[in-house]
């Protein structure tokens, strides 16, 4: 079927198009060049409408054990947002940690067509993929978590060379069906199991003697040498600790120019100034980002209200449990592999720290110059549920609105932020970069995140509206792989997306050492640990899309 989208105003940063009126043609799921004579089977009149590719959330906790712990922990949160089944949609729950089906519907209804789970534990990869397998419409993928696994730390303590580490990283990526590599509190989750309660960048793990700096170095090198597009995805040391801005600046310097993505950097940008010994480090962070072109970030914006934090960082989550609201929380040590911590949070605009966290995130967005190196996230659900993105976009695009909200937060926090003095307003093109073209480029998705011929037809159509929140929360149309899935902000058709992976090469002999280790110390046979493709595809809905490595 040939579909014509007529006369829309196109924002396609991947092709350098910023607000030009242009027709789009879709055939067999992809965008094609204007055909010579063919008559479209279906035409949509998009004159006056804003057209972007489907949005990509490059960091959202949508699959894996800690999210399901968060769900189980919070029945009272679900009860406030029950979601009924319809003739095409399954029932479920929404709000802070939605059920899988509702996750897919609500992302699609905001114009998102792809999401990446950033913390795929190797031992929990099956669960993450099974949960994502029950998320309709969206494409998905995951970054496999390393850095606190005993096998890596043993390799490092034994002074194995970088090649041995590369082989292990590549093997793990293949086994867990990942498209990137993440490290969370490098070595810290492991150190917590040895009763260490904090771990600075240059502090040694009590058992292994390695430091977070060492771990970042070998993993960032591995990712680069393996040719994986997405740079090492780093949740740094000292999350949430006042003064951690210095840790973050040291982390940027310490990586020595290697590509590195610092995630939810808002939580890592805190100073110790002022009466409350808590201040914004956003200006220093933004300056460092602007200067170091090897660094990309996503913000992890907090927005006020009830949510739940679900993180692999068991060490920091345990330390933060005293802030749990409601007062219940879970931590887990997991399989000599990783850990997790789940702590419900209620961010309050009249709480000084929360209010300043809100301002720090926005300062970061507005002070980083290059929209290709900063990404729009709330670290769903940790800073706020993903359904708050339209509100966040309005805060970025509308200075008056932003300052109106600023005037309502804790007065001491207002004094501690430069936000009111920042005039910048994001443009539609910059939003399209952050949420589409930039994300696709960062992750290495070929043929997604753009609207030129050859791309898959993931397309979102909005009605231009000066109230950007209203505009972005209810697209007129969303197409996924060329199929119309959303009309007027409601799902009209349910499809199933693909799982994006990379498959870096490794020396098969890596399994010799791994097999001995598994047989001796782990609780599963090596052969039973590795995921097979059919685990994703056998239900007839899932598929795997392998992306190329960098040459």
């Amino acid at each position: 079927m040939l579909i014509k989208l007529t006369g829309g105003t196109i924002y396609d940063p991947a092709a350098g198009i910023a607000g030009q009126q242009q027709d789009l043609y879709i055939e067999n799921g992809r965008i094609i060049n204007p055909p010579a004579e063919a008559k479209p089977d279906k035409e949509y009149d998009l004159r006056g409408k804003v057209v972007m590719s489907g949005a990509i959330d490059m960091h959202t906790h949508i699959g894996g054990g800690k999210g399901n712990i968060a769900r189980t922990l919070l029945p009272e949160d679900h009860r406030q947002d029950p979601v009924a089944s319809t003739h095409i949609c399954r029932s479920g729950c929404g709000h802070a940690m939605p059920s899988t089906f509702v996750t897919g519907y609500r992302y699609a209804e905001m114009g998102y067509t792809t999401g990446f789970e950033p913390a795929l534990l190797p031992i929990n990869a099956r669960q993450a993929h099974m949960e994502m397998g029950d998320i309709p419409i969206l494409d998905k993928g995951g970054y496999v978590m390393l850095g606190s696994d005993d096998y890596l730390l043993r390799l490092m303590t034994a002074n194995k060379d970088q090649k041995a580490i590369n082989d292990y990283v590549a093997w793990t990526m293949n086994s867990a069906k990942a498209i990137g590599v993440k490290v969370v509190n490098p070595g810290g989750i492991n150190a917590f199991k040895f009763n260490q309660r904090k771990l600075d960048l240059d502090e040694q793990n009590a058992h292994y003697g390695v430091t977070p700096r060492d771990i970042l170095q070998v993993l960032a090198t591995a990712v680069k040498e393996l040719g994986v597009s997405h740079p090492l995805h780093v949740h740094g040391c000292n999350l949430g600790v006042p003064g951690n801005v210095q840790t973050t600046l040291d982390t940027i310097q310490g990586i020595g120019g290697l590509p590195m993505h610092l995630t939810h950097i808002q939580f890592h940008s805190y100073g110790t100034e002022g009466d409350f010994k808590f201040s914004s480090g956003a200006a220093q962070i933004a300056e460092a980002i602007n200067k170091n072109k090897n660094i990309t970030i996503d913000v992890g914006q907090i927005l006020f209200g009830q949510t739940v934090t679900a993180s692999g960082d068991s060490m920091r989550q345990h330390a933060n449990h005293k802030h749990a609201s409601p007062n219940k929380w879970v931590t887990m040590d997991i399989e000599c592999d990783a850990g997790c911590g789940v702590v419900p949070f209620k961010y309050k605009d009249q709480n000084f720290v929360n209010a300043l966290q809100w301002a720090i995130g926005l300062e970061t967005f507005l002070l980083v110059d290059d929209p290709w190196r900063i990404f729009l996230t709330t670290d769903h659900p940790n800073g706020a549920p993903f359904t708050s993105y339209p509100h966040l976009i309005r805060l970025l695009m509308d200075k008056t609105f932003r300052n109106d909200v600023l005037a309502t937060i804790h007065p001491e926090a207002q004094k501690m932020t430069t936000l009111a003095s920042i005039d910048r307003e994001y443009s539609l093109q910059e939003i399209a970069i952050m949420t589409r073209a930039g994300a696709a480029k960062l992750i290495g998705l070929k043929d997604r995140g753009g609207l030129s011929a050859g791309n898959w037809a993931d397309i979102t159509v909005y009605t231009d509206n000066p109230n950007r929140e209203q505009m972005f929360e209810k697209p007129d149309y969303v197409f996924k792989d060329g199929e119309l899935v959303v009309v007027d902000g409601k799902v009209v058709h349910v499809t199933w997306g693909t799982t994006h992976v990379v498959q870096p090469d490794f020396d098969p002999s890596v399994e010799k050492g791994l097999k001995e280790y598994f047989d001796r110390y782990l609780t599963m046979k090596l052969g039973n640990f590795k995921m097979s493709d059919d685990e994703i595809t056998e239900d007839g809905r899932g598929s795997i899309t392998v992306h190329p490595l960098k040459g």
Binding site: H78, S85, H87, S99, H318, M332, C336, D534
Partner: protein, 439 residues
């Protein structure tokens, strides 16, 4: 005849995956690493190959059509058992969503003790590989661990560990219930400490133990027949251990408000972690798909596997959705029983229309209206099952060609038939369905 190695078990909950099984046609023989729990469940012969309607053999299509017809005009069907693999649970939840059923995992009465504690205050838990490599002190509360999982000690304690010089020096303490055998005696003869009491006295004993951990003064000299000095010794050992682990079986705490015992020990673990050492909980569960049921129901609905769909959206209530009460009170009007693992796990006897999707070989006191024998995950078809520690899903293997359909095959077929019969958005006159805002 073939031999298949490294076979994972969906039955025992502790994720044994080193069984060797000889396959001869459709008969199985566990020839290595069997145990009292796993071996009989693997070796259970196939006796039923044909579905039955009202006791008479019929084709699968006829049985599915009959099941759908029985469900079509119901107002509150129950889907009980809920014991299958991940795909089986997916199919079960889709069917429940379609026909407005109450789903209720058969082991929920026990598991509820854990969920109520979790949902009220949370916990700090660990997993089996951490136990194997780090645990230097294991406190077993109110359960006979080796009867629950015969190979627990062999696989996870008396074995190599990364962070312990001599695993034979690990200390095991039984509190409440004595073990039924000697599996807890270490290879070098180190015996477990055993402090027995009546199970029903555990709330008091645990409260005192937590008080001692928190250095609260205790005036009594004994509690439930256990000397305070002995409990003080446990408290001291927990605080001296580098990585203590406290384990329990929620279903073994058979007294009312047992969730408070789970909460007491979980809060005690948190207290120990605030006294400069590590300690973790390890709830024993995961047999025959109970963990799988709660996990899949968790991501599909947000809630554990005692949830109703009768108003069009999931509603969790750990008490009101108890299927035994719904059957006894006459609120339910049909029963679907799903159990792919154990022929002994038959449905409760009821006069309501009953559909059983069960393991081949089930013997019924009262023949159900429809019986559809299904294959067992990990024997007749591949699949996924969750271990007791919740994080680890194991990949189950297909061992033989029995021709039996999977739970998912059957439930998906019934759901498809139900959808043909009526529009699921306004099923059976349930006018309240869809009353809340659409997503």
């Amino acid at each position: 005849m073939t031999e298949i190695t490294e076979v994972p078990s969906p039955f025992c909950g502790i994720g044994t995956d080193d069984l060797t099984i000889r396959v001869d046609g459709i008969s199985l023989k566990v020839i290595e690493n069997g145990c009292a729990v796993n071996t009989p469940l693997f070796e259970q012969p196939i006796t039923d190959t044909m579905p039955r309607v009202e006791g008479k053999p019929v084709s699968l299509d006829v049985a599915v059509a009959k099941a759908a017809a029985l469900l079509r005009n119901t107002r509150l069907p129950i889907i009980g058992g809920c014991a299958s693999d991940v795909n089986g649970m997916r199919g079960l939840l889709a069917l429940a969503d379609c026909c407005g059923a109450v789903i209720d995992n058969m082991n929920f009465i026990g598991t509820r003790n854990n969920f109520l504690a979790l949902q009220d205050s949370g916990w700090m838990n660990t997993t089996l590989a951490e136990v194997k490599n780090r645990c230097d002190l294991l406190l077993v509360v109110g359960t006979d661990l080796e009867a629950f999982a015969p190979r627990f000690f062999e696989r996870y304690l008396w074995t190599d560990a990364m962070f312990l010089e001599d695993t034979g020096q690990r200390h095991v303490i039984y509190l409440g219930k004595a073990p039924s055998g000697d599996a807890s005696t270490s290879p070098n003869g180190h015996k477990a400490t055993i402090l027995e009491c009546e199970i029903i006295d555990l709330p008091e004993v645990m409260a005192v133990l937590r008080a001692l951990v928190k250095k609260q003064p205790i005036r009594a000299e004994s509690v439930a027949g256990i000397a305070i000095a002995d409990l003080q010794a446990i408290a001291d050992q927990l605080k001296a251990a580098k990585y203590g682990v406290v384990t329990w079986t929620a279903g073994a705490l058979v007294y009312s408000q047992a969730e408070l015992t789970v909460q007491m020990l979980s809060e005690m673990i948190k207290d120990i972690n605030n006294q400069n050492t590590r300690c973790s909980g390890l709830p024993l569960a995961g047999k025959e798909g109970d963990q799988t049921a709660n996990q899949v129901c968790g991501w599909t609905t947000g809630y554990p596997a005692r949830t109703r769909f009768s108003r069009g959206y999931p509603e969790y209530d750990p008490f009101l959705n108890d299927s035994r009460d719904l059957l006894a009170n006459g609120e339910a009007d049909a029963l679907v029983w799903v159990h792919a693992f154990n022929v002994a796990s038959v449905p409760p006897v009821t006069d309501l229309p009953t559909i059983v999707v069960g393991r081949s070989g089930m013997v019924f006191e009262k023949e159900p209206d429809v019986f559809i024998p299904v294959g067992t995950p990990g024997i007749d078809h591949a699949g996924h099952a969750y271990r007791m520690d919740n994080v680890v899903a194991i990949r189950l293997k297909k061992l033989r060609d029995s021709g039996l359909p999977s739970t998912a095959d059957v439930l998906n077929a019934i759901e498809t038939q139900c959808r043909l019969g009526y529009d699921c958005t306004d099923a059976g006159g349930r006018t309240t369905r869809g009353a809340v805002a659409e997503h």
